[in-house]
Amino acid sequence: MTGMEEIRQTFFEECAEQLDELETGLLAIQDGSADSETVNAVFRAVHSVKGGAGAFNLDTLVGFAHTFESVLDLVRSDRLETSEQVVSVLLRSSDVLADLVTAARDETAHNAAAVAEVSMALEALLGDTSSGSGSSAEDELDGLMGDFGFEPVQVSLDDLIGPQGDNRFRILFKPNRDLYARANESMVLIREVLSLGSGEVVCDMSRLPDLDALDSEEAYLSWGITLETNASRGAIEEIFEFVDEECELTIEDLNETEDEPASEDVDREVSELLAMLSAGASDGSNSDDDETDFDFASVGMGIETDPEPEEDFDEPGFAAPAAIETKHEPVAAPAARKPVEAEAGPKDAGEAGDDKKAGAPPSTTIRVDLERVDRLIDLVGELVIHQVMLSQSAQKAGINSSSEVILGFEDLEMLTRQIQDSVMAIRAQAVKSVFQKLPRLVREVCAATGKDVRLTTEGEYTEVDKTVIERLSDPLTHMIRNAIDHGIESPEDRIKAGKPPVGNICVSAAHRSGRIVIEISDDGAGIDRQRVRAIAVNKGLIPAGANLSDDEIDNLIFLPGFSTREKASELSGRGVGMDVVKRSIQALGGRVSISSQLGKGSTFVLSLPLTLAVLDGMIVSTGDNTLVLPLTAVLETLKPNSGDIREVLDGASVIRVRERFIPVIDVARQLGFTTTPSDAREGVIVLVESETGAGQALLFDAIQGQRQVVIKSLEANYGRIEGVSAATILGDGRVALILDVDALTTSNRLDAPSYNPFSVAAE
């Protein structure tokens, strides 16, 4: 069954892509930047999910996707206008679809109430247009959509698509050998057909040859089925939908009665679908009404010019949509389709991500096991270390610096750096995958808070290491929540303040000097510094008389246990917010900063390293030990004047920096390298930023320089050591430990007498 598991996994991977596509498309429709191709893409996405889900018997998912798809078909054929209400139902439907897919993947229960509610809204759209003509439906909708709780005209989908009363069909089903080769089973299909009603099956064995002429893999049998059913022709065609390439199928209506319009719709839908899925044969003529301006013609053209056989098309669930998209002429695609501009990210990545228009041919991307990539990265890391070691020993050997050896080493160095960069780029991913989750989040938070917020994203093709992406999602989610919950005012308050009722949140990403910078800005109320300060005093976070700069007040919101809301709201505001955000960003080697203007809004800036495999470090030494301090933690370095150092007790001391006393942490002693305290006057002080947001002073003997180092895990072969986050190998081949500043400063706080980072120095 592992094979099945694999297919299942592939299905859910594909689902995730389809759902992304769906949401992107719907948002484009909402923006009004959509064209017919967008609508088609959205339709195909839902259809693919449905197709795949059918193969895994995910009935709830199939049922919902089907309803969703039917509504999208109305949109596609211009019989349902994409008014704001309709789009909001569609967006909610895509959320529900995503939930159902997740529930199916994790085999957990789904939220039945939400599914039912949205299904009802969808069916209302369906029922509405099928009962009235297109234009009047729109009017009715406005009235209906305000409240989802109306009574649906039609509840069952079968009622909608199938006329009541007995239909009689004669079905001729002639499978060819491919049908069996693809592990389909005629019996299952026939049984399915019979489940629609009652009927007779006759097997035609006339083509069956003599035994000696028999090809065991050929399909010789065909069947004739006479079916009496309540279902429509569409329902029958649907059963054969996945094998239509591999069989000859004729369905004859024996009643010869007029189909109702609704049934025709389904027929048309199916025939369109079949047309789309069946290779080059498809063109505009299959979609029988001319008002629909699908770009089938260009799709057809693209296919004709493509020399490759379209063998993937018979897997409707997966390959077909992608294949069709890639045949689309990039030039023909309107440039302004995407509201979001690719920025700063490497060009080819941007194009590859922009699936709808450019669509790099499928062969240009491969899926690779992450372990292999990581192994490669490790090896290249070692290559870099060895290259440095070699060139250092060449220099030590006194080789003339203009000699060929040294020049060769310089070339080698450049090459290894390039290899390292390229290898790192393999792990890089566009932040799009994180940004894509935000619109839904915003919708949900808005619904819960009764606020109206418009989210814009910029630079979603900016690339950063996969691990950073993975760990970026949570803090970003929290910050957006916070921005809506605490930042953006309610529509009434906004109007009072002379702002448009709809708030704006902009999330942007860009590369800046070797780091990725993510900005989250809102046009909300901004930080009320007086209040923040009062709360901090109230909660005992700062002494009442503390003299703080605006910047310092803003940063108070990152203190543990700080929450400006008097009443904790459901979404954010339990006081576990921003300090957690800050800590998780710092754990990634990043920083958070705020700038805020009262009444105008706030901007949070996250600055993160592009990778977690290397780190910019400050090389310091204490005694015989060489240590690496992450540069992100370093605020400043200073050589203390003897007057600034005050002894406290037991060899501990504090240093006065700009009228503030900061305890000095003797790193060598803290780590247990020595028991005798070193004299702070002889060493170097490095001011670091710690978890509490306050400055701490670390004492070392000397600073040796700054260097990019490759991070090596200590845990793989040894285990966690307090105060040390990892190790690295220096140019001389020796191992140096990378200090964990947070752990160093926290453990110090436990042994040292408690102190307040904001206490004013007494003169």
């Binding site: 490790d378 090896l379 890391g381 070692e382 270390i385 030990n625 060489t626 780590l671 247990g672 390298f673 090596k712 895990s713 200590l714 793989a716 072969n717 040894y718 285990g719 050591i721 307090e722 105060g723 040390v724 190790a727 190998i729 081949g733 020796r734 191992v735 140096a736 430990l737």
Partner: protein, 155 residues
């Protein structure tokens, strides 16, 4: 090689013998990955005294134990003959610092005397057997028992 060993009714174990101070020990050759010359280790903070530190083993950070201290004997004083034996215990790679590696010995199970009552209490917990070879007495160490406390269960 394994097949051969199983076919042989007098199954021979191959052991690497090494010296700590004036005593001889050996470990199963199968647990030893390689033997390296001594290089100074970077000390690790807050670790037991027998953890000498970490060294760079071709890009891997390798913890090294002073087997002398670990056995409750005196610390190894590094000389040019000192070596680090790289052993794999479970999924963990470890370096064992010893005074010198003497030779490889092949013994049958009959040569090994189980449950010896010699040496000090500390080292006895690591020794699984004793054997006499010519005029020498060699103690067999179970590599899995010498991991630092608290890490052993991970192996």
């Amino acid at each position: 090689m394994n097949d051969h060993a199983q076919n042989d009714s007098h199954f021979k174990r191959e052991l690497i013998a090494f010296r700590i101070a004036d005593q001889e020990f050996c470990v199963d050759i199968k647990s030893v990955r390689e033997i390296r010359g001594y290089v100074p280790a970077t000390p690790l903070p807050k670790t037991p005294s027998y953890v000498a530190g970490v060294i760079n083993l071709r890009g891997t950070v390798l913890p090294v134990m002073d087997l002398g201290l670990r056995m409750g004997l005196k610390a190894i004083t590094p000389t040019p003959r000192s070596v680090i034996m790289v052993v794999k215990i479970g999924s963990q790679l470890f370096g064992l610092l010893v005074d010198a590696v003497s030779d490889i010995v092949s013994v049958t199970e009959e040569d090994i005397q189980v449950n010896p009552d010699v040496t000090n209490d500390r080292s006895r917990s690591f020794v699984s057997g004793l054997m006499a070879l010519d005029q020498r007495m060699i103690a067999i160490i179970e590599a899995s028992s010498i991991l630092p406390e608290g890490l052993a269960e991970a192996a």
